[in-house]
Symmetry: C2
Subunit: 488 residues, 2 copies
């Protein structure tokens, strides 16, 4: 048996680090703050990517690819944007190395660039510089482009999947003829993010609007999906921005309207990243490790043969062959573990890796023409006839998927509080959890609360009911009902 994980309730952060490591999801790269996504973690990302890629293609979006490198001057064209990203930029200044007799390989000073280049932290600027070339008339609109790419934001305090200097994401960048159309796009995408999170990752989310102090640098409005992690902290899982005409202004992108006027183009941008893998771990993980929602699990069913001798191996392989053939053809993602480790070791390992369903098959099962199924969560052994196995497995996977969601939703709801005063607010925040309460709409209030409690407004939820509420901090009439929490 492998050693246990750190106690989740005691040291959630150490537990997280160990799960990422022992489930084989990721590793630290050699340059500080960078991440290696290992094959098992990358398969998870591929599954998430494929789901969302299908969603956006079905709604008329297309993929493209824009350069990694952005001229420094571009970043500076939108004032808020550069303010938001200047402090965490990787800057390319030279283009050549050379041998130095004393110091070995050094940067060739003669290769210094005239204008420094920024490694993209996000691609609004480079993309809108292209849209200027591509958009002339209303007939060129809308432009509904997405890209799957790596981006770099220099982070000092990093944690695998949650905050790394480089991460993978999709970034959508759309261009529209009207403000209304841009707003609709922003909200339509948010709804796709909600579906991705809830229906596939089994992560319940709150949808809503970010306050001005939390919105994207360069956006008019940022919408988000916010989730509660297993330690009751919030995690921003995806954002969709209505950029108004800010980037069109910065890059002078106008179009000729149907009635022959010249107008600035309206923009949106939106992204989810490999951070979603962190969200899955933090939402569903337990004392035995990872738990993966079947819909996106790289392996949905692991088969553990229980054998003692070589003869049994051959017998079991023959017995399993038609079973696995049937399952594979039905699209079940499965893996047979024929390594020499003990069954107990294997059970632990695949539980650590979060595989939803385990099948055990030994000589007695062959005799009885049965297999044994065990859910990742349960101890109960489910015996079934080998001839009627597909339906029960599909049913079990479906149940596991919805159980994970229900459990996470119940956890979130039972840790979401309404409070009667600021003292209770502080007490809840310090214990952990979401607080739904009134806010007077003042950024200074928000800043004071953050200063005192480290809690931030996660969003103004779409289903807010501000009527009759007073601001938790000032006691004034509430302008909004908001969700406060400490966040990742």
């Amino acid at each position: 048996m492998s050693k246990g994980l750190p106690d989740r309730s005691n040291d959630f952060s150490a537990w997280y680090t160990q799960v990422v490591n022992r489930a084989g999801l990721a590793d630290h790269g050699p340059v500080k703050g960078t991440m290696v996504i290992k094959p098992y973690g990358y398969q998870l990302w591929e599954n998430i990517r494929d789901v969302f890629d299908k969603m956006i293609k079905e709604t008329g979006h297309v993929n493209a690819y824009f350069p990694l490198f952005i001229p420094k001057s571009f970043l500076a064209k939108e004032a808020e944007h550069v303010e938001g990203f200047a402090k965490e930029c990787a800057v390319v200044t030279h283009t050549r190395l050379k041998s130095d007799p004393e110091k070995g390989i050094v940067v060739d000073p003669e290769s210094e660039l005239e204008e420094e280049i920024i490694v993209r932290p996000t691609s609004e600027t480079v993309i809108w510089s292209m849209y200027k070339k591509w958009i002339q008339s209303y007939r060129d609109l809308p432009v509904l482009i997405n890209q799957w790419a790596n981006v770099v934001r220099w982070e000092m305090r990093t944690r695998l999947f949650l905050r790394t200097s480089e991460f993978l994401w999709q970034e959508g960048h759309t261009a529209h003829a009207t403000s209304e159309e841009a707003e609709k796009e922003t909200l339509d995408i948010l709804e796709l993010y909600r579906q991705l999170a809830e229906d596939y990752l089994a992560i319940p989310v709150i949808t809503g609007l970010k306050t001005d102090s939390e919105k994207f640098a360069g956006a008019e409005r940022t919408y988000c999906i916010e989730a509660m992690m297993g330690d009751k902290r919030a995690l921003q899982a995806g954002t969709s921005h209505n950029l108004g005409q800010n980037f069109a202004k910065a890059f002078d992108v106008t179009f000729q309207t149907q009635d022959n006027k010249e107008e600035l183009v309206w923009a949106t941008s939106w992204g989810v990243s490999t951070r979603l893998i962190g969200a899955i771990i933090l939402t569903h993980g337990d004392d035995k490790g990872l738990r993966l929602p079947p819909k996106i699990a790289p392996i949905q069913l692991v088969i553990i043969p229980i054998t003692k001798s070589e003869d049994q191996v051959n017998e079991l392989k023959a017995y399993l062959e038609p079973i696995t053939k049937n399952l594979k053809e039905s699209g079940i993602r499965m893996h047979e573990d024929w390594t020499n480790n003990s069954p107990g070791f294997k059970f632990n390992e695949w539980e650590m890796k979060g595989v939803p369903l385990r099948m055990e098959v030994g000589p007695r099962d062959v005799k009885e023409q049965k297999v044994v199924l065990v859910k990742r969560d349960g101890k109960e052994k489910l015996f079934m006839s080998k001839n009627n196995i597909l339906d029960p497995i599909q049913k079990l996977l479906k149940d596991i998927q919805s159980d994970l969601f229900d459990r996470a939703r119940d956890f979130r709801d039972s840790n979401t509080h309404r409070v009667k005063d600021y003292n209770e607010f502080k007490s809840v925040i310090s214990r952990g959890g979401f607080v739904r309460c009134g806010w007077n709409g003042n950024p200074e209030t928000e800043a004071s609360i953050k200063e005192e409690t480290k809690a931030t407004i996660r969003c103004i939820p779409f289903n807010e009911e501000p009527k009759g509420l007073s601001c938790i901090f000032s006691g004034e009439e509430a302008k909004h009902e908001v969700v406060f929490a400490k966040a990742y």
Copy 2:
């Protein structure tokens, strides 16, 4: 009608540039030498990627993701490797921008990195630094990892798809217990590259070994697939490297063998890139623009309604609906062009974009319950009953696929020459084409020929027959039969 393309036979290079532009494949990015892959070009890349991704997964490979950033010192660990890449590296030296009252946004000198970072030109070094952590025993081998990623090589003279500062590719990096296994992997992958090129891209290739002067910086042996472009120049379309123990040595990666010895690990690496899109254009393009092999064409069939009035539009839409439904369900990738442009304009546009098959449908076809099909290549109109359309279309697409291949193979073969002496060699090379001839195996011979004619040895083909040949340059007995050509 759109203006014609530059004359292919006169200015192949201008023709290429125009096709890339007018087919909507790619554009230049703002930083010199960078490329924007536009949606139509990116769909092509997605289709190529999906084909090859399936091939490698079926042969036991898995995807992962390694960091973009490599410490400068890593690149220097393998002597030949740094030699090969030092002259074209993007170097990150700072991590922050700041506002300067006089100069605007400047690089913050206080953010200078202690050790400079290289933007990966290829990932052997960063990956082998990780393999050192992951590989201890023969039980950890083989490691069969691939990644889809962007890489950067600073190029002074760039051309879209063929040579850009940043490009997309896959890079496989495998680790093995024996030299034989590594060699087998190198050759197995080369065979997959051959299949990808010939069976999907319809590009005939020569498979063979690179000479020492043309091999990958850090490899023991480089195998390649080489193709002939429409201007009779060669293009290296993919390479597979047997790296021996060079990177294991550089990063001290050893493993415990089954009989308890400590040995260095054996390595391979292999890659194909967005350059393949350039190869498709250069191989199949003609005076009307692009021609795409149906198996990887984003659009296999374009439907052009021939209408005069709104009434006809509705009638045609109703007529087409069951037809397109049937085709879509059968997996035909299709597009209906309902824009207001004239049929002639549309014909030209979709020919420029290389769509293999066009369907024309007008009021008379509705009356006769027919549709008209026209191949990208042909003028002939094929009339068919609307009730029996799927089989003929599938047959036509298959024919177009094999016709493209046959035509390219015939072109290559008829431009591949055997020559009697060096004078004839020079004359063929200056006119354009491949020369198969003897070579004494001497790198100086190779260098002299390159100096005089600009032709390089593209490869020592697997089917070489050196017996009885003499070296085209020295007249000595030939060590190898090789393929010479001027190359991209």
